[in-house]
Assembly symmetry: C2
Homo-oligomer: 290 residues x 2
């Protein structure tokens, strides 16, 4: 039976590490500050941003949620964003998505300065990953960053491994593919037009499922003798309304070596990555001033 690779024990270690780094930064005169912009009253967004604020405060950083009404004008939204972008007391900045329809055409990831882009969406940060950065300097998108952390924590060697990434989004699939390549894995990037996905997966050592379809990947995609490692990025609801991943956990449990559960797996890592990015951003900004 597969070992479940859970976020909780990793979380504890990272929180301690971030708390210490935060204390050091404060000692040297800077309290890492995260600025969140939240437009409207979208209930999941209210919860997400409040969780992020709580987490930042837990590690000793500060966080402000700047709330704007759902009908805020584009002009006003951009004015506020620019103010935070230029405020030297703001170390990390992000706009909680989704935005209301009248603002959704804005590519906010490119409007946040790349040094403060704790979401890792900016062209400059993605370019850095493309150029080989594994998060030394660049701010890496939170989900792929969290997955790398989990793999490292479980002492999974990536070099020379065959990895299959299913899903080619800019937030997960593509940066994941580039990061794994930077760690010397051989990566195949799969998507909705991939033919014979089962065979491609059967051939992999590591499968990262970022498909967005409940329990899509079952044991017919696996090769039990390969001791495969399955990373589940999905957050879906099953027919009974329960949270589930892109991987059918019951089906694969006896057919793989390691599996990240949903809930309690990758999803829990993103907030940790956000914290790491805030600290990294702050350190980079101080380094620049020196």
């Amino acid at each position: 039976m597969a070992t479940l690779l859970r976020a909780a024990p990793i979380s504890q270690r990272i929180v301690e590490d971030l708390t210490q780094k935060c204390a050091e930064l404060k000692k040297s005169g800077t309290t890492p500050h995260l600025q969140v912009m939240l437009v409207g009253e979208h209930s999941p967004s209210l919860i997400y941003t409040s969780n992020k604020k709580k987490f930042m405060e837990k590690i000793g950083a500060t966080c402000d949620i700047h709330k704007l009404p759902a009908d805020v004008s584009e002009e006003e939204f951009i004015r506020d964003l620019k103010r935070f972008a230029n405020d030297k007391n703001v170390n990390g900045l992000f706009v909680q998505l989704p935005l209301p329809k009248h603002l959704s055409h804005l590519d906010v990831g490119q409007m946040v300065p790349y040094e403060k882009d704790v979401d890792g969406f900016h062209a400059q940060n993605l370019y850095a990953i493309m150029a080989g950065d594994t998060g030394q300097k660049a701010l890496v998108p939170c989900t792929p960053k969290g997955i790398i952390t989990m793999l490292k924590e479980a002492n999974i060697e990536l070099e020379g491994k065959k990895a299959v990434v299913i899903g080619r989004s800019m937030i997960v699939g593509k940066p994941m593919m580039l990061l794994l390549t930077n760690f010397n894995a051989t990566v195949t990037l799969c998507h909705s037009r991939t033919k014979d996905l089962q065979r491609v997966c059967q051939d992999a050592d590591i499968i990262i499922a970022a498909i967005g379809r409940a329990k899509f990947l079952d044991n017919s995609f696996l090769s039990p003798q390969k001791n495969q490692i399955l990373i589940d990025v999905g957050i879906n609801h099953d027919e009974n309304g329960n949270v589930c991943g892109d991987i059918d956990q019951d089906s694969v449990m006896d057919f793989c070596e390691i599996l990240t559960p949903v809930p309690g797996g990758v999803g829990k890592m993103t907030i940790l990555s956000l914290g790491e990015n805030l600290i990294k951003a702050t350190e980079n900004q101080i380094g620049k001033l020196k």
Copy 2:
């Protein structure tokens, strides 16, 4: 026996197309102008830049090669680069590489404005490819762009195909991988740490070899029944001093469906891509002014 997919017949079509587009741009008041910066007397660079100038003039564009002495100061080099960057009569700009040692730390690809970056090295252009552009607006690195042109010209459908890219450089492998993904191929990016490269290649429909080792890929990497398409990016010299690719042409000829020769294949396409990028850059710049 494999069909050789040569650049020459494609070249003719593209030259006609570019000549026509150039004439149209001139009619509307703009003659596309390429500015090249050349430092020192590196002989291959002298030939490359002179060939590029000849090509641009052939399609009706203009090209100036700005020569600087090998010992030019960093300050002077940057001053000239900035002058060209800001000159509205310069539509395309690139620095011929390699640079002398004392300048080689400069990331010139990022110093050229992305709108004039006909080499396609700028973060903004690579980001655009990552975000799904196939060359509609972005300036795509010349070699991958040329390969896509060849595949399209030969009516090779990319959607659903398994492609293997060998080599993960920023100039060829990585943009190639992203472009093929944008055309809905399923791509595996291989490199020096890939294990069992032969098996990975045997499983592919399309193999792009950008390894830099003479005649590295022979028929032991192929599955004859798969009618594979082989694209050879290498430009090496064999034991007799003759130009050869990364693929052992004699060895694979009876084991694949289509092969690009070396010389006369991919290498000849890059200058065409450069011309296409100059025209695209000029069109984008005029579109912006409108």
